[in-house]
Amino acid sequence: MRPKKAKNRRSSPAVVAVVVMRLYIADNAPNSIKAIANLEAICKEHLQDSFKLEIIDVLEFPLRALADGILVTPSLAKISPSPAAKVVGNLSDRSSVLHALGIKE
């Protein structure tokens, strides 16, 4: 079963700052499922455990998504460290995601 609301993975003590992200998805829409998979792969490879990801189902919390300025799904919002960034799409273009998250390849 996919994680629906929130999922935290603690990393071992490290020098890198924890990346806080929110992924907005639309239930089991194909692009949303792809986005989750793509993001998990990126995190595993580049962030190990130094990240915090919240996954929000827009179908369940539409008004929250609206308040967060989300329009299309899937959308990834990087909250911290600054600068904040937003990526839309199923995150298949890995380099642009890494760039937005401020991670060097």
Binding site: L59, K86, G89
Partner: protein, 586 residues
């Protein structure tokens, strides 16, 4: 289809003219596509429909803006009197769906999330209208025709599941651009397609609207002018093709008796009159006289000038005894001046329409209508001039329009705006140059349904207003100016002579009559005298007869021939008395 048992339910947009074109508005519970190039009016149409739904029927709405930010949209609409910011607080929800340039795109996305948000918002405010503005911007982001089609399907399904009264999708599609294959599909998916166009003609922007598809409903085909005023967009819907104007038999004075007489008693109420002529032939003066006369009758009047501002017109007319200012002050007369180059011919039509709505005139002047040909193309101007006159006639307004001719021949008007064919009365003013003078001549070329003079008259401008001078013809020509004066002098001299002759003759006849009367009196006197004489003579004669018969009886008694009778003596006495009476009478 046979018989229309259930006409398609429709929702009026409240956009002037469009609800007439579409026979009632947008299809209820269906989707309408507005397509057209940038700046063609799609967004205004969508927003205005939404605003009207809120204001007139308390129906809330959602506006999804893909192209412009909400702030921009509200700012753009500030020039209209919609009170949008207030509506946006509770009854209208604007979703800023413009992707910020900072947003990074990585792979495909879809609208599932957005539609979920819209559904929630719709339920929250009870929205019954939804507009997706600039869907093309969104679709371009999808970068893939298959994805585009998929998302269009998604929107369609959403609309099917979320019952709204009306949905409007706008898309920037230029008429013949084939780049967006899927727009064909969009058109198929919607029930009503409205095309918008903005084009430049002679440097003036013209807006057009056309309904290209309306599933299950009749509509007025063809493209129609659109213009923008204070209350938003207005479509200049065509007048009914059947001309139905009630014919009035009431006559309206033009302002001077002689012209009324030439027109067989004046203009018909609700008729249209065209005055043509080269510049300087007093077209405005004539029209001004008409306006002043209408005001004097207490009728509301609208004076539209495309030439000059109201102030100089009133001043110039007052120099020939036509006073418009008091009527402007009293509110009876409304003077409107406008430059013609700056806006398209249709815009004039729309402005005049709203002026007529505001002022509700019974009489109207447009001076000169030919000026609208300056803005935009001739075809447009011609159509506008025609529609303008029909519009005015529909409202039973008696209208006088002027038009400038290039040549002095009235026929040149016929090649120009062609108003002469629809005007009921056509008065032509020209200059006649003879004997070194330039005089104004007035001809009535036509006047429908009435007797009218066929003679050319001289128009004279005095300080008490225009008058038509008496006509003298000599050698088949109407005499004007000095020639007319000479002729008039000649006529005057003749008249004086004729009068003197007449007076003389009358004197003679009166003397003869008096003489005859005197003679009759004398004869009468004679007659009376003669009658009296005759009477005297008759009674003397009678007395003689009586007395002689007395004497005979006396003689007989003396001779004792008869027995004596007392009565005879009495009889004799009475005879004597009679004789005396007659003598008295004589």
């Amino acid at each position: 289809m046979t018989g229309v048992a259930h006409p398609l339910p429709k929702l009026p947009t409240g956009i002037g003219g469009f609800d007439e074109l579409s026979h009632g508005g947008l299809p209820r519970h269906r989707t309408t596509l507005l397509k057209g190039g940038p700046g063609s009016g799609k967004t205004v149409f969508a927003l205005q429909s939404l605003v009207n739904a809120v204001r007139r029927r308390q129906e809330a709405g959602i506006f999804v803006a893909f192209e412009e930010s909400t702030r921009q949209i509200i700012a753009n609409a500030a020039s209209f009197d919609w009170g949008l910011p207030a509506l946006a607080k509770n009854k209208l929800f604007f979703l800023d769906a413009k992707l910020s340039p900072e947003v990074v795109q990585s792979g495909e996305f879809d609208l599932t999330g957005m539609l979920a948000i819209l559904k929630a918002k719709k339920e929250e405010i009870g929205a019954q209208w939804i507009v997706f503005d600039g869907i093309d911007v969104l679709l371009t982001l999808l970068q893939n025709p298959l994805a585009e089609m998929r998302e269009i399907y998604r929107i369609r399904d959403w609309l099917a599941d979320n019952h709204v009264n009306a949905a409007i999708i706008t898309a920037k599609i230029d008429g013949n651009s084939a780049e967006m294959v899927n727009y064909g599909f969009v058109q198929f998916m919607v029930d009503c397609v409205i095309r918008f166009e903005r084009r430049l003609e002679h440097g003036v922007a013209l807006h057009r609207i056309e309904i290209t598809k309306y599933r299950g409903s009749d509509f007025v085909a063809g493209e129609y002018p659109v213009s923008f005023g204070l209350s938003g967009m207005e479509v200049d819907a065509p007048e009914p093709s059947e001309i139905r104007h009630e014919a009035s038999t009431e006559r309206v004075s033009f302002g001077f008796e002689r012209l009324d007489t030439m027109l067989g008693g004046g203009l018909f109420r609700g008729s249209s009159t065209l005055i043509t002529g080269v510049p300087g032939t007093s077209k405005t003066t004539l029209a001004g006289k008409f306006a002043e006369t209408a005001c004097r009758r207490g009728e509301r009047t609208l004076f539209v000038s495309f030439d000059e501002a109201a102030e100089p017109i009133a001043r110039n007319l007052s120099s020939v005894g036509i006073q418009l200012k008091p009527h402007v002050k009293s509110g009876l007369l409304r003077m409107y001046s406008s430059r013609t180059e700056s806006i398209g011919a249709e815009d004039h039509l729309v402005r005049l329409k709203s002026l007529i709505r505001q002022h509700r005139p019974r009489c109207m002047v447009i001076d000169p209508i030919s000026a609208i040909a300056k803005a935009g193309g001739m075809d447009a101007a011609r159509a506008v001039a025609n529609r303008l006159i029909y519009m005015v006639k529909d409202q039973k307004i008696t209208v006088v329009v002027t038009a400038i001719n290039q040549g002095d021949e009235p026929e040149t008007e016929a090649t120009d705006l062609q108003i002469s064919t629809i005007a009921d009365t056509w008065i032509h003013l020209s200059y006649l140059i003879r004997s070194g003078e330039r005089n104004r001549a007035l001809t009535i070329i036509k006047s429908r349904g009435t007797w009218h003079s066929n003679q050319v008259r001289e128009l004279v401008l005095g300080n008490t207003g225009p008058t038509l001078a008496d006509v003298y013809t000599a050698g088949g020509e109407v005499l004007m100016g000095t020639l007319r004066w000479e002729k008039e002098d000649e006529e005057r001299a003749k008249t004086i002579q004729r009068r003197a002759e007449f007076d003389h003759k009358r004197g003679e006849l009166q003397a003869a009559e008096a003489e005859t009367r005197a003679r009759i009196k004398a004869l009468q006197h004679d007659l009376t005298r003669q009658r009296a004489e005759l009477a005297t003579y008759s009674s003397q004669n009678q007395a003689r007869i009586v007395s002689s018969s007395d004497r005979e009886q006396e003689l007989r008694r003396i001779r004792s021939a008869d027995p004596a009778r007392r009565a005879s003596g009495n009889s004799g006495g009475s005879g004597k008395r009679n004789k005396k009476g007659v003598r008295d009478a004589a």
